[in-house]
């Protein structure tokens, strides 16, 4: 069946949960979910692109922060940022805020011991205990249901696992703290000030979905924030980058999501898709996740700049990559770096010859896939990327002439092959189950009958594809570099094309902010908030 295109109205904001309720026949006489059906999770209003964040939390935080800075209360302004970050997380869930605080306290104490002058063996044991504790926390909340239900299926047992609600950002804040503990052990240098450690973990622009920040990167910035003047020149760039991120999210990612969600829902219920529907779903999601995550990263960096903190670059036009290795140097760059430093290297890294190196690369990428979620679809997605990147490395070793094949034709072929593989992998990443993914993949080669994509959505997708493939990205346009000691715009990057805080740039920023705000009345949670 080709999915029916329901007329899309102004007030279509029905949650995935509600749609599922309706599909199961649990239908209210007026097409509404029955009493007791849960609406959006409490705290969804703290999404960066939602009005309560944009119109209440952010202005109050900035006004309070700048007022304290203007009054010369620099330390107090850092305390205020910490308090704001707790409010930000607490708005999602108070019990999970308690969990976050407990996790910070435990890791802070553990880090102090690991960085102390205690004997190396004891420090090592403490570090391992901390890492295991953090991993245990992630396992309990994220993987217990998945592992338990699969074990039960294997054993033919009738075990039931309660549905544990995943605390937002748990993968990010625990992995950041794991990295901290390992670094404490390696360098014997930990954070002394609890406030700065807590802010390093909870800093609201990056708390929920990254970028994953190293303590050695954040530490001097928070210390400087408490003692030095704010670099006001960063603020216009923060506003401009934030506006670009907001526009990416609300003007491109969310409208595409609204157009393709019914197609994915149809696939999840087992409805076969025609070619037009399947291609729209796959290409649409490829663009949705690009603009969703890149929009989030821009907004995080913009927010950081507004309060005088640089965050690492996390996203660098990944669809312009020419190989899968290059892709992972551009997509979720801080996760790739984390996996390299704390998974690949401990597994042995390059040591032990080509076979072990390729094995370590494969395992690292597979773990990266499972990090995204506890479902077979993520395992398959991770396995696809792990296989591709292992093949890419193997090709460099044993078929170097392929790597040396350059020129416009070679570039086009390589980019097309990479995009095709990435898009097919995204199908598993997005689908609600392996069978739904296969329904979409089968649809790619099915007849195209029955579904006609909305021309406006097609135009939006074409525009998005052009931006993703050919345009300089927002950080390039703003001349942003992550090194705090370098100026913004960093002149060596793109020269005269870079933005300057001129009246014209202010007008362009205002247009993006107004357009982003105008359509932000139906915010959608960022995809990476789910991990």
């Amino acid at each position: 069946m080709a999915p029916r295109r329901a007329p899309r109205g102004f007030f279509m904001g029905r949650s995935k949960r509600e749609k599922q309720l309706n599909r199961k026949g649990n239908l209210h006489p007026d097409g509404l979910p029955r009493a007791g059906a849960r609406g959006p999770a409490r705290g969804d209003f703290m999404v960066f692109s939602a009005y309560p964040f944009l119109l209440v939390f952010l202005p109050l935080t900035l006004v309070g922060f700048y007022a304290l800075r203007a009054a010369g209360r620099r330390r107090m302004s850092v305390n205020f940022l910490l308090a704001a970050s707790f409010v930000f997380y607490g708005a999602w869930s108070l019990p999970h805020l308690a969990l976050l605080i407990a996790s910070i306290l435990a890791n802070y104490c553990c880090g102090r011991y690991v960085a102390s002058s205690a004997p190396k063996e004891r420090r090592r044991l403490a570090m391992l205990a901390g890492v295991v504790g953090n991993l245990g926390l992630v396992f309990w909340f994220k993987y217990l249901d998945f592992a338990g239900s699969n074990l039960a299926a294997l054993a033919g047992a009738d075990w039931t696992f309660r549905n544990i609600v995943l605390p937002l950002g748990i993968s990010f804040f625990t992995f950041q703290q794991i990295a901290y503990l390992v670094d404490c052990y390696r360098t014997r240098d930990g954070e002394r000030r609890f406030r700065d450690y807590a802010l390093f973990v909870t800093f609201f622009p990056q708390l929920i979905a990254g970028p994953i920040v190293h303590h050695r990167y954040a530490r001097p910035q928070f210390a400087a924030l408490a003692s030095e003047r704010l670099n006001a020149d960063w603020i216009p760039y923060g506003v401009m980058i934030f506006a670009m991120g907001l526009a990416k999210k609300t003007l491109i990612a969310d409208p595409i999501a609204r157009a393709i969600d019914p197609l994915w829902a149809a696939a999840a219920t087992g409805d076969p898709l025609g070619a037009a529907a399947a291609w729209t779903a796959m290409v649409g999601y490829t663009l949705q996740i690009y603009f969703d995550f890149s929009g989030y990263c821009d907004m995080a960096i913009g927010l950081g700049l507004m309060v005088g903190v640089r965050l690492p670059v996390n996203f660098n036009s990944p669809y312009r990559a020419k190989s899968i290795i290059d892709f992972w140097r551009r997509w979720h760059m801080t996760l790739s770096a984390f996996l390299r430093d704390y998974v690949y290297i401990p597994l042995g890294g390059n040591k032990g010859g080509a076979f072990f190196r390729l094995r370590n690369i494969f395992l690292t990428m597979l773990i990266g896939g499972v990090w995204h979620g506890a479902a077979w679809t993520f395992v398959i997605w991770g396995a696809i990327h792990a296989s591709l990147i292992t093949l890419n490395h193997a090709g460099r070793l044993w078929l170097p002439e392929l790597d040396r094949w350059r020129g416009p034709v070679a570039d086009a072929v390589k980019r097309a092959a990479l995009l095709g593989a990435v898009m097919i992998a995204w199908v598993y990443f997005r689908a609600d189950g392996v069978s739904a993914a296969h329904a979409v993949l089968r649809g790619l080669i099915a007849p195209a009958a029955g579904y006609a994509p909305d021309p406006y959505v097609l135009a939006l997708m074409a525009f998005g594809a052009a931006l993703a493939l050919f345009a300089p990205n927002s950080l390039e346009v703003a001349g942003y570099v992550e090194a705090p000691e370098r100026p913004i715009p960093h002149e060596c990057a793109h020269g005269a094309r870079m933005l300057r805080p001129t009246p014209m740039a202010a007008a362009a920023t205002a247009i993006l902010l107004a357009a982003g705000l105008a359509v932000a009345w139906r915010p959608a949670v960022f995809i990476y908030f789910n991990f």
Binding site: R4, A6, P7, R8, G9, F10, F11, M12, R14, E18, K19, N22, L27, H28, P29, D30, G31, L32, R34, A35, G36, Y51, L55, A232, D233, I235, P236, V239, A243, R500, P501, T502, P503, M504, A505, A506, A507, T509, A510, I511, L513, A514, A515, L517, A518, V519, A520, W521
Partner: protein, 348 residues
């Protein structure tokens, strides 16, 4: 080279321009018909039909029924017209302008539009055993700019969210108006119009073309479970402290007062009908007093609330229940308002 702004000048100018653009969006011209197409409920639509009935259908309206899905599926316009005709010999046109979900603000919007277009002789507003604290989420889709801006502020949990959404709504409508492309249709199509006697008491058409029959009765245990779940949800609601209890129903009370004032200004009447839920058949006097409803209410509660054969679920009657409610409503209409409509219904 263009002049650079200081950080403060940049931030202030960007903010001022953003607010100016949003302000311009609010006053941008837009098509009212497109606005009434913007509200749907996931699997059904009603608002666009209401607008078509009010503006594109030449049939007058004598009785406008305004309420929630209980009225939508519980009172049949054609049945009431037939019963009224049989009892009085007069022809009336009853339009069921109810819309799913609760919220007096949207009742006011519909009553205002009905008064503007058709000036019904009688507007009947639904009452239930409980009044929602939150106003209707579709208000921001249907209300005009003035009603959103001048909505009650105190105790209105929707005021600021609705106000924040206004520029976006206006921008979308302006774009639709500019391109001549409504959410559902560009212009009124008489062939697709569902007619002046739209009746959803027997069946509910869904957007995917399927029709859900209401000739079905829910099992008693399901009805009891539904009621228990509602009772539990109600018990879980935080009690309003006594010091501010008078504000609890301030917003619905104000909207009901506005509907009264609107009708009075047009020389028209307003009445209220109580529609029960499963095993909740008694009219809640304390609530109606709190809402400022002092006139005798058309009470359709009583035994039907205990008859499991009349319920589709714990809050909605089925087709047989609707037939009974419509008949009782028509009888009360005849008793209270025997001279509505036109003479000699048999001839028309």
């Amino acid at each position: 080279m263009e002049r650079r702004l200081s950080p403060a000048a940049f931030a202030v100018s960007a903010l001022v321009m953003t607010l100016s653009l949003l302000g311009a969006a609010v006053v941008a011209p837009q098509n009212d018909y497109y606005r009434w197409q913007e509200l749907d409920h996931g699997t059904t639509r009603k608002a666009d039909w209401i607008y078509e009935r009010l503006h594109f259908d030449a049939e007058p309206i004598d009785v406008a029924l305004i309420g929630t899905s209980r009225t939508g599926g519980g009172l049949s316009g054609p049945d009431i017209e037939a019963a009224y005709c049989a009892a009085t010999g007069r022809r009336i046109r009853v339009a069921n302008l109810s819309i799913p979900e609760t919220g007096r603000n949207i009742h006011y919007v519909i009553a205002k539009e009905a008064m503007r277009a058709k000036r019904p002789a009688l507007t009947v507003i639904e009452l239930n055993e409980i009044e929602a604290r939150r106003q209707h989420r579709g208000f921001v889709a249907l209300a005009d700019v003035e009603d959103i801006v001048t909505a009650p502020i105190i105790a209105n949990l929707n005021y600021f969210p609705d106000l924040a959404r206004l520029p976006g709504r206006q921008a979308v409508l302006w774009f639709r108006t500019l391109t001549g492309r409504g959410a559902v249709k560009s212009k009124f199509d008489p062939a697709a119009y569902q007619g002046h006697d739209l009746d959803r008491t027997r069946a509910l058409p869904l957007l995917d073309g399927t029709v859900v029959s209401r000739y079905t009765a829910a099992p008693r245990d399901e009805l009891d479970a539904g009621r228990a779940s509602r009772t539990e949800a109600r018990a879980g609601m935080r009690r309003v402290p006594s010091a501010i209890r008078k504000f609890e129903h301030r917003v619905p009370r104000l909207y009901l007062q506005k509907i009264d004032a609107l009708a009075a200004a047009n020389g028209r009447m307003v009445d209220y009908v109580f529609l029960p839920a499963w095993r909740e058949g008694a009219l809640p006097r304390a609530l109606t007093d709190d809402l400022g409803v002092t006139a005798p209410v058309i009470d359709l509660g009583g035994r039907i609330a205990e008859d499991p054969g009349k319920w589709l679920d714990a809050t909605h009657v089925n087709a047989w229940g609707a037939a009974e409610l419509s008949s009782r409503f028509a009888a009360e209409l005849v008793r209270r308002y025997p001279a509505l409509g036109e003479k000699d219904c048999a001839r028309t």
